[in-house]
């Protein structure tokens, strides 16, 4: 039947994305605590021969692998200490270093990949990380409120995003059903106190 052809294209989905960012990410703004701020951090993509000597001046976030190999050199650079945990990596690999790190960066290659939500959750609740957790890459209006719930507190939006509109995203829900890394509580435990 001819009509079946019309929406065949819908079936075609993007091929699987890589787990790591392929290029450096540099945004001029980021969102934190309900406001838009000027950004000065470059997120350096992982390459095979990357070493701390190659890092440009100024604030950078480094891939986890570089941190694990050269953490002393990175600390010696001064400035903001920021380490990326990619979707296929794990906060546990860096658990002992967390008190020396100012910022954990969670790079999103594709916003539909939800692994970093569990990373953020573990960083906050399992490892007690109190520094900044920043989502970068394919980060959009419609992910902001749940990312906030799992413990992400800074956002560099995808290129071309409307930052002013995005500020609205944090207020979409005033109630929650389950605990997360924010102060949300299990609905049944709240009701227990009422009854």
């Amino acid at each position: 039947m001819a009509t079946t052809v019309a929406n065949r294209a819908i079936k075609a989905r993007a091929k699987a994305s890589p787990d790591r960012i392929q290029d450096n990410i540099q945004n001029d703004r980021y969102v934190k605590a309900g406001a838009i701020h000027t950004n000065d951090i470059l997120h350096v993509a992982e390459t095979e021969e990357l070493s701390s000597n190659d890092l440009p001046g100024g604030n950078v976030s480094v891939p986890l692998s570089l941190w694990l190999e050269e953490k002393e050199a990175i600390l010696a650079r001064g400035g903001v200490v920021a380490v990326q945990i990619a979707a296929d990596e794990a906060p546990a690999d860096i658990a002992d270093d967390l008190d020396r790190i100012d910022m954990i960066v969670l790079p999103f290659v594709n916003f539909v990949d939800g692994r970093s939500y569990s990373h953020a959750h573990k960083l906050r609740l399992r490892h007690g990380y109190a520094g900044e957790i920043r989502a970068v890459g394919d980060v959009n209006f419609d992910q902001l409120s749940f990312l906030t719930r799992v413990g992400v507190d800074a956002f560099e939006l995808r290129e071309g995003a409307n930052h002013e509109t995005a500020l609205r995203a944090f207020n979409e829900f005033s109630e929650v059903y389950q605990p997360a890394a924010d102060d949300g509580r299990l609905i049944f435990s709240r009701r227990r106190q009422v009854h």
Binding site: D113, Y117, T165, E172, V176, Y177, R192
Partner: protein, 552 residues
């Protein structure tokens, strides 16, 4: 029935506002179709062959009369006068306009309904036993647990972007009517030796391209740990499930790859960290929730009804309906009435707005205003007085809702198939019609007895063909529709996948092949054997021989 409190109301109405905003941003060009897609899916809105399709959640298949009226009104106002009840106890509307969907969701919210997470790679509607609360074989009412799981899983921030969809089913009865062994998580309520309630937890079951029977991950999970344990399973899956190939992304593939023991170890290791934390439930939580599902105010009646007895002898049509479509109830003087949505010539599971309104009226008058949806795509009135059965039958019959074919070959499960679905390879609705026409002699149907016939238009298996006593799968062969048959699948406690009969069969020969299978069964059956029992005893060969002898 569960009633929303202020928190539930706020979440659902804010969800409507959120979706309205997303649609407006899309129509204003700020949100691309590609970016809107996963968002609309998480509100049940698909793009199908001809139009959008909206899937509305019916948590564990329970509806109040007023909710059914709203569904009827939506079918009338925004659709073409009908809806399609699905194998996951939901309802789908096939023709809504995108711009209308926020209004539809708003109408739904007024009767405490929504379409949240009825699609997309997230935790879907919790399904359960359609006889929950009234079944004679029930250990405990599963509905309070279903509702607790529904709330916990709704807008769960960590598990909203899973590798693939995630389905949870709960049964509280010794005969599993919720197919829990074919779900991502299956929960079977059991009691331990101390008579405490808990769950046997299955993980990694499912149909689709790779049908797998769920494995037991926990023999006995105390009921207070249900949320934390599910959370641990979900976290391991979220982090480690495959994301590179959507055909291999379900949890069943992960469990198979890791092995159940390694998977269990990973879950238990994660669970250890938070099992006694905020997610631990208290006895009062279950008691509070159970109060939403009280026993109806049954009258003190004795079993049996003289007028029904009399009419069983006087009217064959009534007798056929009584015997096939009604079942025993725990409460003396009451029966469970199954309402067939398998009228001949109608797509299985479809109901018109008029039928939905009639169901609401009948439920209000005769069954405490409550209606259930079954995963076999029928409806149920669970609490009908025996003395009202004649009136209920007449009222249903007037709306063509009394076809006496529950449990028979004609009571088939069927996906929408190529007529509506953009994934399908083949038609399933045409085949349903062909089968209905072939088996139009009800006395023959009754002689054949219980046959679960399940049909899918493609390997995604929305029609659960793998677990049909007879399974039919539509395949595409060089642009033609062909059908592969299986025999001996079973979704109940004796979970089994069907055995392949042989090469695919041409479209116009499907009902002949099914007829052959049933003929072999009738020749070879012992005493009270059902088809599936005979198959277990004699194997596939006799069936195969007969079917292909004639085809060749």
């Amino acid at each position: 029935m569960y009633q929303y409190d202020q928190v539930d109301k706020t979440i659902v109405s804010e969800r409507v506002a959120q979706f309205r905003d997303q649609v407006q941003r899309h129509l204003a060009g700020e949100l691309s179709a590609a970016d809107l897609q996963p968002l609309r899916l998480r509100n049940g809105l698909y793009m199908q062959i001809h139009a959008h399709m909206l899937r509305v959640s019916i948590p564990y298949g329970m509806l109040k009369a007023e909710q059914m009226r709203t569904l009827a009104e939506i079918a009338r106002k925004y659709d073409r006068g009908y809806g399609h009840f699905t194998t996951r106890q939901n309802i789908q509307f096939n023709w809504p306009e995108l711009a209308d969907v926020p209004d539809i969701l708003e109408d739904l919210s007024k009767v405490e309904m929504h379409a949240i997470q009825t699609s997309g790679n997230c935790i879907r509607n919790i399904s359960s036993d359609q006889y929950a609360g009234v079944a004679i074989d029930e250990i405990a009412d599963p509905r309070p647990y279903c509702e607790i799981l529904r709330q916990w899983s709704t807008l769960h921030p960590e598990f909203y972007w899973l590798p693939r969809k995630f389905k949870i089913a709960v049964t509280g009865a010794s005969n599993d009517r919720a197919a829990v062994q074919f779900h991502d998580i299956g929960l079977e309520i059991i009691k331990n030796e101390q008579n405490e309630l808990g769950f046997r937890v299955y993980v990694g079951g499912g149909l689709g391209r790779t049908p797998i029977i769920g494995k037991v991950i926990k023999e006995f999970l105390p009921r207070e740990d249900i949320l934390s344990y599910c959370e641990a399973i979900l976290r391991v899956y979220n982090l480690h499930g495959r994301r590179d190939n959507k055909n291999k992304a379900r949890i069943k593939i992960l469990v198979k790859a890791m092995g159940i023991d390694a998977f269990r170890d990973a879950v238990e290791a994660d669970w250890e960290n938070f099992k006694d934390g905020e997610l631990k439930l208290h006895d009062t939580d279950f008691e509070t929730m159970q109060k939403f599902f009280p026993l109806p105010a049954y009258e003190d009646l004795s079993a049996g009804d003289a007028r029904v007895e009399k009419w069983l002898n006087l009217d064959n049509r009534f007798a056929d309906w009584y015997l096939n479509n009604t079942t025993a109830h725990r409460q003396a003087g009451y029966r469970i009435v199954n309402v067939s949505l398998k009228e001949h010539g109608i797509a299985p599971g479809d109901a018109t707005d008029e039928q939905m309104d009639a169901m609401a009226d009948i439920a209000e008058q005769y069954s405490f205003g409550e209606i259930r949806v079954t995963h076999e795509q029928n409806l149920v009135l669970v609490d009908v007085r025996e003395s009202d059965l004649l009136e209920v039958w007449k009222a249903l019959d007037a709306e063509r809702l009394a076809t006496p074919n529950i449990g028979s070959v004609n009571d088939m499960i069927c996906c929408p198939g190529l007529d509506f679905c953009s994934l399908a390879n083949a038609t399933s609705i045409d085949i349903a019609k062909q089968i209905n026409e072939k088996f139009d002699d009800f006395s023959e149907l009754y002689d054949i007895g219980e046959v679960k016939l399940k049909m899918s238009g493609c390997m995604n298996a929305c029609g659960h063909h793998h677990v049909g006593h007879i399974g039919v799968l539509g395949v595409d062969k060089k642009g033609e529709e062909w059908y592969q048959l299986t025999v001996g699948g079973d979704a109940s406690n004796q979970a089994a996948l069907g055995t392949h009969l042989g090469p695919a069969i041409a479209k116009d020969k499907v009902s002949d092949a099914i007829s052959d299978i049933l003929e072999v069964y009738r020749e070879q059956r012992d005493d009270s054997e059902r088809l599936v029992d005979t198959f277990r005893r004699v194997g596939i060969e006799p069936f195969k021989e007969r079917v292909y002898q004639e085809v060749a």
